[in-house]
Symmetry: D2
Amino acid sequence: MPTILGQNQYGKAENRVVKITRDGDTHHIKDLNVSVALSGEMDDVHYSGSNAHVLPTDTTKNTVFAFAKEHGIESAEQFGIHLARHFVTSQEPIKTARIRIEEYAWERIATSDANSRFIGSDEVKHSFVRKNQEIRTAQITFDGEKWQVVSGLKDLTVMNSTNSEFWGYVKDKYTTLKEAYDRILATDVSARWRYNWTSDEQRMPNWEKSYEQARKHMLHAFAETYSLSLQQTLYQMGSRIINNRSEIDEIRFSLPNNHHFLVDLEPFGLKNDNEVYFAADRPYGLIEGTVLRDGVEPQIPVDMTNL
Amino acid sequence: MPTILGQNQYGKAENRVVKITRDGDTHHIKDLNVSVALSGEMDDVHYSGSNAHVLPTDTTKNTVFAFAKEHGIESAEQFGIHLARHFVTSQEPIKTARIRIEEYAWERIATSDANSRFIGSDEVKHSFVRKNQEIRTAQITFDGEKWQVVSGLKDLTVMNSTNSEFWGYVKDKYTTLKEAYDRILATDVSARWRYNWTSDEQRMPNWEKSYEQARKHMLHAFAETYSLSLQQTLYQMGSRIINNRSEIDEIRFSLPNNHHFLVDLEPFGLKNDNEVYFAADRPYGLIEGTVLRDGVEPQIPVDMTNL
Amino acid sequence: MPTILGQNQYGKAENRVVKITRDGDTHHIKDLNVSVALSGEMDDVHYSGSNAHVLPTDTTKNTVFAFAKEHGIESAEQFGIHLARHFVTSQEPIKTARIRIEEYAWERIATSDANSRFIGSDEVKHSFVRKNQEIRTAQITFDGEKWQVVSGLKDLTVMNSTNSEFWGYVKDKYTTLKEAYDRILATDVSARWRYNWTSDEQRMPNWEKSYEQARKHMLHAFAETYSLSLQQTLYQMGSRIINNRSEIDEIRFSLPNNHHFLVDLEPFGLKNDNEVYFAADRPYGLIEGTVLRDGVEPQIPVDMTNL
Amino acid sequence: MPTILGQNQYGKAENRVVKITRDGDTHHIKDLNVSVALSGEMDDVHYSGSNAHVLPTDTTKNTVFAFAKEHGIESAEQFGIHLARHFVTSQEPIKTARIRIEEYAWERIATSDANSRFIGSDEVKHSFVRKNQEIRTAQITFDGEKWQVVSGLKDLTVMNSTNSEFWGYVKDKYTTLKEAYDRILATDVSARWRYNWTSDEQRMPNWEKSYEQARKHMLHAFAETYSLSLQQTLYQMGSRIINNRSEIDEIRFSLPNNHHFLVDLEPFGLKNDNEVYFAADRPYGLIEGTVLRDGVEPQIPVDMTNL
């Protein structure tokens, strides 16, 4: 046989599970999109079509919904850990499970006072509006011995309206760009960070708090960095997280440079004093990079932040 | 000539203008997507290709950017009014201008205390994160005499995890649905409301405040209605706005019923006590309707909320 | 009561029905996305939540699938006619039914000779690849007496690489555009045409043939028109259809001007002799218009081609 | 410094270049979306913001358009090779260039006879309609010594309406799926194949012909395989390509199982004899795998087919 099978995996993707927890009249939501990918001794199903080792993708879907009842959904990461452990430990041919999750955040509709964003006594306790600001992500991989947890977010759009410059770059025969000493810097953050929790014997991170803190440090670093290049900002964002969160060892970013071009208003006898911009779609600069705790091996794949 | 020209319009669509206003170190953003549609004496360009009456779409784009400087952007509605008036009054062949705008909201990145959502002294005053919760819309039409302003929003996703029932409906030979006495009610609100401001001689509404209040009343009505059908909720949402905002005479909604189906966990020996739901994509119920102040003529087109 | 209910409608949207017809070993596919919208005596469900007049949206879904079996799917239009007639004639409170359909075309995978596009004896008769070139649309409305059928297509992208000019237009203080004597003309055609078949007593058009012919005439008119403006091309496209197809009385287009800007290569010492273009996304010109058979009343709504 | 920089790259993404070549009156189109990613000695720009090694992303954009003129676009692969070689050999700090390209195919509008798909004398030779059937992809990577070319396609939707079964699988406590002996098998093919051309000293493949042949073999294998699982079909598709195209050593697929569920029509007194299906959106099975020429090392990343 001149051809062979390489890496392969299968499972049910995009199981949209919503879990409501009732604490008296006060309800809580977890809203997830869960994708299961299993691999192991799967040569036969590829070579001959024998499904003797194949747990149907339909069953992996059922398991997601059943586990939402059996284990609840404390966090995306914890839920993924339950699922991955189950598939690897319950089915002999399955050697590795990778669970990918997207989480959609909701906030309460405050009815007593719409200006308040805090939960007050006059709130309707079962009414929610989706936040939509970013999508939270988690990927949990288990091979029967070691865990890898890579969390992150995407579609978090940020902008600095000043404190960004770009000059002193290489100029070749195709260079026409003018240097900029005060520009808008805007991007849609896609970030994935890897936890150094890898074994059931370690103490598990507080996934919810860690997410909130990583997000906060990233936003602060973006806001506070006086930027000479988007690469510098990227490094500051990553570095700030790793320096503040000992549970995180590696973080990768894909940062499109959402160009805001200053519109030339001179033909109309007007001066554009950094006021009026055209927000362009394509092309866009794309800045990608990994920031690591010194001494650790990088593991996050190059394109993971583009998924 | 056996064929004739009917309604026609043209202009530059989706001009992405971002306006930064500097109040000392504190910056403010307005982020709009502006589409221009002009109509009037345009027979010749269709019949013979003569452009003698045609102001180029490129010029309408330039005007959007120039006006952001000349007039600023106080609100989407006020900006559209400046533009529509300009096109109709400055070009003889143009009889009607319709400006459609989408607005994207931004909030400040609070750096002193990430838990605070209020603007404090320690904020970085030029750093922003896009809110993304909904897209605000405005449509301004001017025919040289009368104004029509239709504002609205889309993609505002809301959910009640209880206080919704559905029963007592018609049953025919194709009916298999079971009655529901406690279900999730969720929808992506698309709403457009029409103002009764139509003339320069009337006092103009406070567009920013009116938007905020219409949005608030809509959310409150959604949260507070014990719902026997999504139609009932729709009517309550519209009615609440019209009763509370005298400047608004008509509102139309398109409300997809974002089905959350209770998962049958019995095959796995589990009881699903309104806890675990499957969020479905398609098909979905689609409930559409207009609510009017008694005595006014409806003007919002049937499909406007689907754009 | 200071507020009243205006136009309203409801039903199940986006029912994805696929029908396989077996003619011996040779299979045929019809692949539709069917949306039902019903209206009538629906005041109570809005005012009080009483569902006594409400046929559930779930039932309208079931009817779509059942009718695919009972009536087959001869064409999108014929299928919509069966459905609309059923809802209006079988339920007293339902006075009008509007069925919207998208159709996705498939072609056979030719296995004997991949260069042949004709159905040959060596084809695998149950294997298909989706064409994807455009989406076909149909809207069927019935009020118990009269029919309205509006068919069409969207996302059909066409380009002329020459034979397009644009000059002789109005120039105001915001005009900077240079006149063009040889430019690319490209657009994504969205068109909807209305049939003059309105009664069961008229002979019904051949919907499949009519679609194919309307599409062909539109493409030919686009290709063969030496264009001085996209408006002129639009009118030619519409006019060609109405002149050639007596069953069609009205057609409306939305034609984005997909700008292809000639790239300035002079800074690199190169001459761009209408060779290298930048295909822009936004903003884009948007040209919209209706072409009518002389003497008929227009009925297609302004925004129908934007859905 | 406790944090360090890992893998990083930058460049201008999604440069939409359209090249028209005129052969007398007959025009030819190449329509590409080109993304540049450069890496090398880029520590300084991340650590300090010094751009001394940074060729601006704007320059990489200019280079794409200039090269369309200087070198033409013979194929996506050949165009990417020109670009990658240029960046690595002309800029000392740049050590690796990766060019990703999407290509959009066009066909001629035949005006003499709309049923003919062959180029005839009566065709308008500068009029085109976009094919849209699939998106062709190419990735070219050069490190100054070795080339890697990975070509492919995505969004090619195929269906077999019979000759597919699924049974004999593992059943655990969460399994409810019934075995199927005649089902629809449908998927959106995303495939990437790697060429064994790695050096300027080897004879370069005919990229256009190789694409056409790989696509053809994939479609034939899909059509001709009697399938007991989508994994089996995947392996047959990959294996067919590798066995027929000596220039290709490795291919990876992501194949969503586009579920078409047989609708239960029994409640309506109807029998569904494999005729009426509901085409579901989410969740979907996702089958991914690599097929290799025996003895070669796999190089295509796991998620490349998900980009």
